[in-house]
Subunit: 345 residues, 4 copies
């Protein structure tokens, strides 16, 4: 088989380095180019020294993509920058998996309300497929532009999908209480990700207004055919990677725990990366992997469903899910190159 030629646009962030980490051992692709405007001419391992001897490619400017026949590019660019690129290459033949938020929402208006900036390529929003393979496998297969989901939305949506698809819960008051590792804030040093502000510490942030709220709600509306109201609260954990989301929802009808678990088992029967856990999962149980671990519980005393959902935000929440989407696009086995085993401890 001829290896697929891949471009990674944006090399300096965590999604860039995770993509390289994963793709380096993928048997069916080759990384044709990695771009960086600020570090062009340097080695990838100069930017990420832990990859010395492993990924020593020279970084090039984004303009170099013209000189290569590419099958697919991953966009590891900030929100706002991605749409410029996508617009610019709209007539190219390569596929695009965009890891930013630029094409995840349902409409230009929604984007502009929640991202507080104008969208310069609304046609892209219409064409883009939201890349959660567990829900949209067939659409992904046919897409040219995939909006790779946000990290929080991945954890929340996979936790809630079976309930909403089956119209099993009240939709006006779903609590999504999420806790994330620090890498979710990106690789740039700032006060919020300084060691001494995070270590031995914990806090909530982005109350009421976090952008992932609307991303979650958009998918859940679509799945349920109803209008949902999500109360989403992110918190910052003193850990590098991992998201744990605790979900509270009230059933619309009779419920019991065994039945609830069967619903999830059936829903995720063919999902190789969703593990229904026997006990409450911890974020280290999925560290370094593409798994989403779920634990479902029903409290008879209060008549509430509690779902716990755990992912590695950089993998199932970003680069790993992107590779999973790539595998589907290329007609490869969904798990190719993703046989990652949790690093625990």
């Amino acid at each position: 088989m001829i290896k697929k030629r891949i471009g990674i646009i944006g090399a300096t962030g965590y999604t860039g380095s995770e993509l390289v980490r994963i793709l380096t051992n993928h048997p069916d692709i080759e990384i044709t180019l990695i771009t960086s405007e600020s570090r062009a001419g340097e080695l990838f391992s100069d930017v990420h020294p832990f990859l010395q001897g492993i990924a020593d490619q020279t970084l090039v400017s984004i303009n170099q993509i013209e000189e290569h026949e590419l099958d697919l590019v991953f966009l590891a660019l900030p929100h706002g920058v991605s749409m410029d690129f996508v617009k610019r290459v709209k007539d190219k033949s390569f596929k695009i998996i965009d890891l930013s938020g630029d094409f995840r929402l349902r409409s230009q208006a929604e984007y502009e309300e929640w991202y507080k900036t104008s969208h310069i390529y609304p046609e892209g929003i219409e064409k883009a497929v939201f890349g959660i393979p567990e829900l949209y496998h067939d659409k992904i297969k046919e897409a040219r532009l995939i909006a790779n989901p946000g990290c929080f939305p991945t954890s929340a949506i996979l936790g809630l999908a079976p309930l909403l698809k089956g119209k099993l819960i009240e939709t006006d008051r779903i609590i999504v209480d999420s806790k994330t590792g620090v890498t979710g804030a990106g690789i740039k040093a700032k006060s919020t990700n300084m060691y001494s502000n995070v270590n031995d510490n914990f806090k909530a942030y982005g109350l009421k207004h976090h952008r992932h709220t609307i991303e979650i709600q958009g998918v859940l509306d679509e799945l349920s055919g109803q209008e949902t109201l999500i109360q989403f609260t992110p918190h910052l954990l003193p850990v590098d990677r991992g998201i744990l989301t605790t979900i509270y929802a009230r059933p619309t009808g009779e419920m019991d725990e065994a039945g609830l678990r069967e619903i999830y088992a059936a829903f995720y029967e063919n999902a190789p990366f969703v593990r229904l856990r026997k006990q409450e999962p911890a974020i280290k149980d999925v560290r370094g992997t593409n798994y989403c671990d779920l634990f479902v519980s029903y409290d008879k005393r209060t008549n509430m469903i509690i779902v716990i959902s755990v992912i590695d935000n950089l993998i199932k929440g970003a680069a790993g899910q992107a590779v999973q989407n790539m595998n589907i696009l290329f007609g490869l086995e969904e798990t190719k190159g993703l046989n990652l085993i949790p690093l625990n401890p």
Copy 2:
């Protein structure tokens, strides 16, 4: 002023060492004795070496309390052991502040249901006062036996009290999503508090059945005069100390954020240890202190109230609150010996 004579029963745990840490600089008391059955004859600083040169008292057996005139004893004993002691000394004149869970619930039946063990001194349950000074100052003043509240309940109750006292929220579906540091599990080494099981990790535990659920519910029922249903979920943070509780509740009537804040400001006007914060508090903001920091918020989009409550579980959640109760019992200024400033970072 003659110094009050204090006994600390149980020296080997965290509450014991925190009590000594705080009381060592308290101007109006003297620590007359510290007991330990397993370490009697050794120095307190042999058990807690960081106190070498600071607290070098010799530990004695509990039987030695007979030989001293004491004004008050703190019980830093495990659940189940405390009630034995309280029963045994029921005719003594000294006051008792019990840091265990043995006298916190409303009835023997409730205790036996949630603690899965029989209660040998139900009279104590009736006489005990639940020691949250912000709510029960006057009762505490007159009590002989104080049940010092649990750490999670302290954070949850202080976060919810103004809402329930004012009958401002629906009571059948209050979400209390708590995250605690590891010291809450005690000083004994076990799998759950091993470094590599906690570090860079995070998980929920005790879903649906944690004992603090009923302790919270008992107080909230009493405050609101209604029956409440609390969904309480604790999670384990990779931090030593601190609890952050995120509370979700739906208002019964009209609500807005400014009004909500005024309600809290009025309710805690005379509470020296409750700080209403301008922004979301972090657990390190109260580390090493007796503060409970609160942040209240109202989401118009979803019609939900979100309250964030933060304490140091070993201080406001245990030893500090105990000293606050002691000050009230002795007619001292409530803040005496508790002018602790957060250690941050």
Copy 3:
């Protein structure tokens, strides 16, 4: 190629789970059995829940090895228990890689002095080969019993070998100041590995008498043909995995930094897992991998050589090095199954 049949003796510890993590993706072997006396009958993933769906083999008693034709067994047993097993199977045909300390020293007398227990199988000491592939590749190839090196010795020996092999430093006063992650202390909960005793903390331990001192010294004596004196001080880091060793030594003759680096480059020319780093390496740079990263430096002002050596204690310091030894024993490529990329962050 017929897959080699592997047994793992001892399943409950970290070395057991790391061996399974690594071997699960090794193309040329199959794990024929995993033993545990305390957990026989349970699944491997019951003991290590993060491996649910990945390693669900049923654990068996050690007696079951009689029923299988095995090519090789890894012993992931405590010191003292290993030698019993090795003695018992001395006439079997399978190869043995022992991850304990039982066969690492030069003589029964040395073992008994430093391990404070008698050695029941001194013949094994004579036959065993010390399994550092970078130094003893050819002997390993022919061995039946391999003593897999300790974690500290691996980091210290690889850092010092080029200097001692070349007789370039004074041997009476080599400082080996090591800092290790907590997993080095094993998987059993005890006071020393409790979260709150380790987190935000740091201390030295085992001053002057740590057993790895003599293991290091034995190899260095042999390499240099001289008697060495090592001052080895381990310290406990608040991290899960990783050892960083800082080595101080005085050159016997003229020295300069460029020349020093050439010596190391030449010495490790064919060592796929030794990376000579451009800058000071951090332990996360090798986390989850079989690399040993080295940084060498010469201080003209003080006439001292400083070498920094970094490994993942569970991989290059234990399970990874064991698999590397296995590959050599089986005539496979040394890096087979060990193409692990650092998990950073």
Copy 4:
């Protein structure tokens, strides 16, 4: 007694907030002003929100010092900025305790060599007293300008002083292997103090050229009357605060451990903040306090002395030592306001 009027110049860093934390409970002083150029007009607690309700003074510009009669100012300014200020106020009557490195070295030439910048006020270097009270109590008492020592030098010098004062060790090859918490790098966000670069990580830095080398050497030369050569290597720990220094030195004559301990006990007989520990101290044993804990050991096998020295870098290594110096200057008890008890855990 009339309270002494104190100014704190520089409010935004950790030394500023630690000074306020300590001085807020000091009975004999009042904080007359706190300056900040970048945040003038805001509250101190806007800059350090954990001090809301505790330290709500309004920050003023440095020019405001003209309007106050001050007894003493603490300079919590960066290196280079401090000397400007000291020069400018050279004719004022208030005393100065400078927490920067500007006046710690022996000469302008030494400063310019190690700090790579010119010194604009060399007269200050001559007049300044190096503020380690355990060594220079009497000089401090009479000084106008005190150069408060660096954090690493404090730990190294207190660990070595008894040995060098007594000419008990070889001076050409003293190994000072230090490990520090992250706050030593200051409060500004940068790549080196980002959470994910520090957490679960560890590395050496500043090999051979760290400025504290010469600061240590200057004092040790003076104490010993000999020329010393210090090999100083700092490492970065994943902890907020604390320095642990491991020192290796060879005795010049006969040595034994008991005698060694007596030497230290005699030397520090009157030092209220030096604790000679019974076992190896951990950095959390002194967290939040002004203690320097020492542990001394002699290895007969190798004929080496090992000293372990532990401090809180922000307190004994900065703000606490500054307050100790202030107490001496004012003729107060050395421990006034410094009765801090370790926060552990």
